[in-house]
Each structure stands twice: as structure tokens, then as C-alpha cells.
Amino acid sequence: MFGQILVSGITAGAVYALVALGFVVLHRGTRVVHFGLGDQMTMSAYLVVIAQVFLDAPFAVAILFSLVLSAGFGVAIERGVMRPLRRAPLLVMVIATLAIGAALREGLRASMGPLPWPVPFLLTPAPFTLGGLVLVPANLAVVGVALAVMLSLFVALRFTRFGRAIVAVYENPTGAAIVGISVPSVHARLWGLSSVLAAIAGILVAPLITLSPDMGTIGIKGFAAAILGGFNSLPGAIAGGILLGIAETAAGVYVSTAMKDIISYALLIGCVLLLPQGLFGRAEPRKV
């Protein structure tokens, strides 16, 4: 049974990890924790449904449509909300992200209805057995894509001009500005990038966890995963997500399903108390 717990925990964790990546990518560069990210996931999955059902687009085109609009939406948030608020306290920006999330959620509820919508699977949900373990291609796709996204991010940040500008802003925004990097433009890219990550997560998980306007509540698990892994570490986001998924599933099986959230959040609190920078994060000294 432990093997099955690991498989299921890793699948659930990969979903959290994808969301956590979106949080970390954005936070490292902008310091903003975007609490509307979960709802952006939901919006992107709905965009696929809209393209398919109302515009008769093929699945691949619908996905492309969703990714492009999601990236545009992220940039629009930066330009329309965050840039005007750039001199406001960080708390105001965070509250603005909460408002964006709530507006998206209620907008989707009003326009698409409160009930779940069917979404096609990227790979088949029919299971197969391997070495006594039940594996589901649709779930494996989530794990695979999470790893592929992380690898692509690593390559992009290290080897492309676009990525190096982001890393420069991550490390020292003032220094980056002095050498000619447009920090506001990098911020806009970061918002677009985190929105695309949320879109990928949303499109992948919507058929697995059922698409409804409230699907974005999973964002809070992604946030917890990001804290667990270290809020400034991209590999930490993946590890935190997987660890949270396994902890939840194991707690549910071995202790009690009613206690699984309590146990996994207790783990999170313990981690914050003992390792405030997270499992993979590094402490960032601030000059005062």
C-alpha cells in the first residue's frame, strides 16, 4: 500500500508544485504574493472550455488560446493594477491580488454558472497496473509536465536573455536597473510567466479535480507548498508540493481522513517554526 500512497501523493503533490512555481516565480522578482493565482488557474481552464464549446475550436487550439490570453491577462494585471500601485505598501498590492481572485471567481460563476463543467483529459484517465501499482496516464502527465516546466524554467533563466534579465532583477533590482534592464518590463514578463504557469496547472488539473468556479481554492495548497519548499527557491516549490502531497495522503491513510489537513498543516507550521526559510530556501538578510 505504501507504494500506492507514494504514487498518489506524488500526483497530488505535482499539482501543488505547479501552483507553487507560479507563486515563487512572481514573488522572487516582485515581492508580491498573488493570492488570485488559484483563480487564474480556474480562468485558464474555463478559457479552454469556452474555446471548445462556444468557438468550436479543436482541443490544441483551445489550449493555445487559453495560454495566450492567460499571459496577456497577467501582463494586464501588472500594467493596470500593480504598476499604478508600485509606491503603495506591499500589503495593498497583496489585497489587490485577493480582489482580482474574487472578481475572477464570481465573474466565472456568473458567466459560466456555478456547476462543474466537463473538461477533456490530456491523456486517458483509464488506469493501468505496473508492479502492483495503479497508474493513471492523465495523472502521470501532471507529474511529467511539472518536471518539464521546471526544467524549461531552469534553462530559460540560465541561458536566455529574457531569463537572465529576470535573474538579475531577482538578485538585485537596483543593480539591474543601473545596467540598463527595464525592471517594470521584467515585472510585466514575470506576471505573464506566472500566469502561464497557472494556466498550465489549471488546464492539466481541471479534468482531474473537476472544473468549477471554486477550483482555485487549491491555490492555498500551492501557497503552502511554496512556503514548505522555501518561497525563494524554484526547486523548493516542486519539492514542497510533492512533500505536501505525500504527507496528506499518508496522514489520511495511516491516521484519519478527517485529520489529513490538520496533520499536513501542522507539518507546515512546524517547518515555519524550525526552518523559517523553508526546506530549500535561503535566508535573505535585509539592511535596516
Partner: protein, 402 residues
């Protein structure tokens, strides 16, 4: 010194005042004028429970529009005062007070969700003069304990539904090892508790009980534990999103038991949301006919009216369960007004509602109230999902005992 004559006059005066007060109480005409009757509609139009509140309001709008187009009831046009409780109990309580105290409505239709209704129980009990009709939510709190002013029809009370589901699992599905997955909120807890008690009462205790949160997305832990008990019937008492995922993951993990879901999962898109794993799965539904393929002309007419009045909602695969129940409830309410006659008072309306017997709308199941009966519907139908993922009503029904 008081003379006999003065004493007699005093006694007669007191008798007159008392009788007058009784008469006034019986003649509470709040919200009634010669040509208008003002009715409050309370429900969750936004927030997580919005599907139910929208159904409540849309049903009232369709029925009242039709009534008004035909000249009203006994010469009075029906006017709606609507309040959105935003899926929050505190706002629902405030909304109810606003309708009753500020808007001075004659009666209230709603609230619309179990979690709200449970919290509103003391408020509904305290407003003992105000007739209230519940037509969507199924928490027993609406009618238990008995409240003279609160009627419910449409859904099957969760306490009764849990019992009836246990009987159905044993008598129709012939379950030997029945397991339960219940949502942790008011809805799942009430239904699950009742089912558990009935299984125990019939000497077939549940082989496994697992709980889940409305926002949970992975149910492996629950299902792996359940699998160890090797159930042949699994009852899911919860909302569509988690229930759909549980059903899919149960099949993926090799659970082959017959799965039956409670009334909340009987939305039209449910089988498509679950996917191929839905084939053979059953759901309780408290409708007389299916809105997506109506056979009853009355359901056909309702679907046409809904589609014409709410084209935006129709694009969302509606009317669905909540909409149909809202319409059914509004029809029952209008029937109560017709029976109450031109000389309308709140007390008279309550007596008129009590006289409704076996009233059929073709959309909901038959309604019968009585002097001590406030649950209008005591039965439910059962759906089975076909290989093409369509829904089919089966012959056997759930029959509850009050």
C-alpha cells in the same frame, strides 16, 4: 366602590379587547394591499451556493410573471423583493430581517442552501408569524423542530433521505457491505449520520465511513482505506465537484462497488464531468422528469419558458436541479395563495398551505402538507448513467417515512 354594572361592563370590555387582539392576530395582512401582494425572495445569488439561490429566484420570477400576466391571484399582482445572502449565514439572517421589517413582505421564499438554512433556524423559528417556503435546500433544520410557519417541498429532507438511501442500498441494490463517503459540512453530516443510524438499525452497520472536505481534490487516502473493507455499495453524500472526483478515483483504484450519490450530485453535467467512470453510477434526484429530455408536457413547457426568459443561464446547461426545484416551489406557493382566497391573511395562507394535497407540477415530486406536516415531499427518484453518459430514471424510488 365598584358596582355590579361597572364590573360587568369592565368584563365585557376585556372580552372585547381580547377577541379583537385574536382577530388582529388572525388578520395579519402585512404586505397585502387591494391589488398588490409583496413576497420576499431570499437566496444565495453569488458565492459558493449561487446555483441554489439563482434557481430559487428564477423559479419565482417565471411563475410570478405568468400569474401576473393572467391578472394576478384573486386580483392581486405578485411583487418580488429579492435579497442576495452572498452564501453567508450572517447576511442571510440580516437579509431575512430586512425583508420582514423594512420591506414588510407577506411571506418569504428561501433561503436556498443547507449551510445557510441551518444557521437561520432560530431566526425562522422566532419569526413565527411570517410564512416561509423552502424549496431548494434539504437540511432537516428547516422543519425540525416543527415550526408552524415554515413549509418545505421539493427536496427530500437529509434525515429522511439518509434513511431512505440506506433502505435502497439494502433492499434494491442488495448491498451486503455498504460504505459511506460523506462531506464534512452540514449537508453531508446530516445525511451521513441518518444513513449510518438506519444501517445500524437494520443490523447491517456500514463497513467503512470516510469524510472529505468540499474543497478536497485528492481522495486516495479515503478510497484506499475504503478498499480494504471491500464494499459492494458506496454511498457518496456530498456536492458535485468532490463526488465526481471520488467516483473517478474510486474506479481508477479498482473499487468496483455500485456507487450511488445523494441529491446534490444530480446536476445535468455530472456524468460528463465524471467521464467514462460514471457508467452504471446512480444518483438520487427529487424531480419528476429530466429537464434535458423531458417527456412530461409540463416539464417541456417549463424548460421552454426558462430558456426564453434566461437565455444566458440556458447556455450553462440549465435549467438544472436547483432551477426546477425553485420553479416547483413557486408553483406550490401560488397554489397556496389561490386556496387562501381573496380575504388574504398570513394565518389564512398557512391554513391554505396545510390543505394542499398531492399537488403535482410535472417538474417536482407531488406535494402534500397537513396541519402537522411541513415536509411536502417524501419521495425521490433514482438516476442511472448510461454508456453514452446520458441519465435515465429507473423505476424504483426512494420512499421516506415521516
Amino acid at each position: 366602590m365598584i358596582t355590579r354594572r361597572e364590573l360587568a361592563a369592565g368584563a365585557a370590555g376585556i372580552a372585547l379587547v381580547t377577541a379583537g387582539t385574536r382577530e388582529a392576530a388572525a388578520q395579519d395582512r402585512t404586505g397585502v394591499t387591494d391589488n398588490v401582494l409583496k413576497i420576499g425572495v431570499l437566496g444565495s445569488l453569488t458565492g459558493v451556493q449561487a446555483v441554489f439561490g439563482q434557481g430559487n429566484l428564477s423559479g419565482v420570477q417565471i411563475v410570478f410573471d405568468e400569474v401576473n400576466a393572467a391578472g394576478g391571484i384573486h386580483g392581486r399582482r405578485l411583487e418580488i423583493a429579492s435579497v442576495d445572502d452572498e452564501s453567508t449565514p450572517a447576511r442571510s439572517i440580516a437579509g431575512f430581517r430586512r425583508l420582514v421589517d423594512d420591506e414588510r413582505v407577506f411571506a418569504v421564499i428561501g433561503p436556498s442552501a443547507s449551510a445557510i438554512g441551518q444557521a437561520m433556524e432560530p431566526t425562522l423559528r422566532a419569526a413565527s408569524a411570517v410564512p416561509v417556503l423552502i424549496s431548494i435546500f434539504s437540511s432537516p433544520a428547516a422543519t425540525e423542530p416543527y415550526k408552524n410557519n415554515v413549509f418545505r417541498t421539493g427536496p427530500l429532507n437529509d434525515r429522511l433521505q439518509g434513511k431512505a438511501l440506506a433502505d435502497f442500498a439494502l433492499d434494491v441494490l442488495h448491498g451486503q457491505k455498504v460504505a459511506l463517503a460523506q462531506q464534512t459540512d452540514e449537508y453531508g453530516r446530516r445525511g451521513g449520520q441518518s444513513l449510518t443510524e438506519q444501517m445500524r438499525a437494520r443490523s447491517k452497520p456500514l463497513v467503512a465511513t470516510e469524510v472529505f472536505n468540499l474543497t478536497d481534490t485528492d481522495f486516495t487516502a479515503q478510497l484506499l482505506r475504503m478498499k480494504q473493507a471491500e464494499p459492494d455499495v458506496i454511498v457518496i453524500y456530498g456536492f458535485p465537484a468532490p463526488a465526481a472526483t471520488i467516483t473517478r478515483q474510486a474506479r481508477q483504484l479498482g473499487l468496483t462497488a455500485k456507487i450511488i450519490g445523494s441529491n446534490a450530485t444530480s446536476n445535468r453535467t455530472y456524468p460528463a464531468t465524471v467521464g467514462p467512470a460514471a457508467v452504471g453510477v446512480m444518483n438520487v434526484i427529487t424531480l419528476a422528469d429530466l429537464p434535458e429530455r423531458p417527456t412530461d408536457p409540463r416539464m417541456q413547457a417549463y424548460v421552454q419558458k426558462f430558456t426564453a426568459r434566461f437565455p444566458d443561464l440556458a447556455r450553462q446547461n440549465r435549467p438544472d436541479l436547483g432551477d426546477c426545484l425553485g420553479y416547483n416551489g413557486a408553483m406550490v406557493f401560488a397554489e397556496g395563495l389561490r386556496k387562501a382566497g381573496r380575504d388574504l391573511s398570513r394565518e389564512g395562507f398557512i391554513r391554505a398551505m396545510e390543505s394542499i394535497s398531492n399537488f403535482e407540477t410535472g417538474v417536482g415530486l407531488p406535494t402534500t402538507f397537513g396541519p402537522n406536516r411541513r415536509e411536502g415531499n417524501l419521495q425521490a427518484r433514482v438516476l442511472e448513467f448510461q454508456p453514452d453518459l446520458t441519465r435515465k430514471l429507473i423505476e424504483q424510488r426512494l420512499q421516506a417515512q415521516p
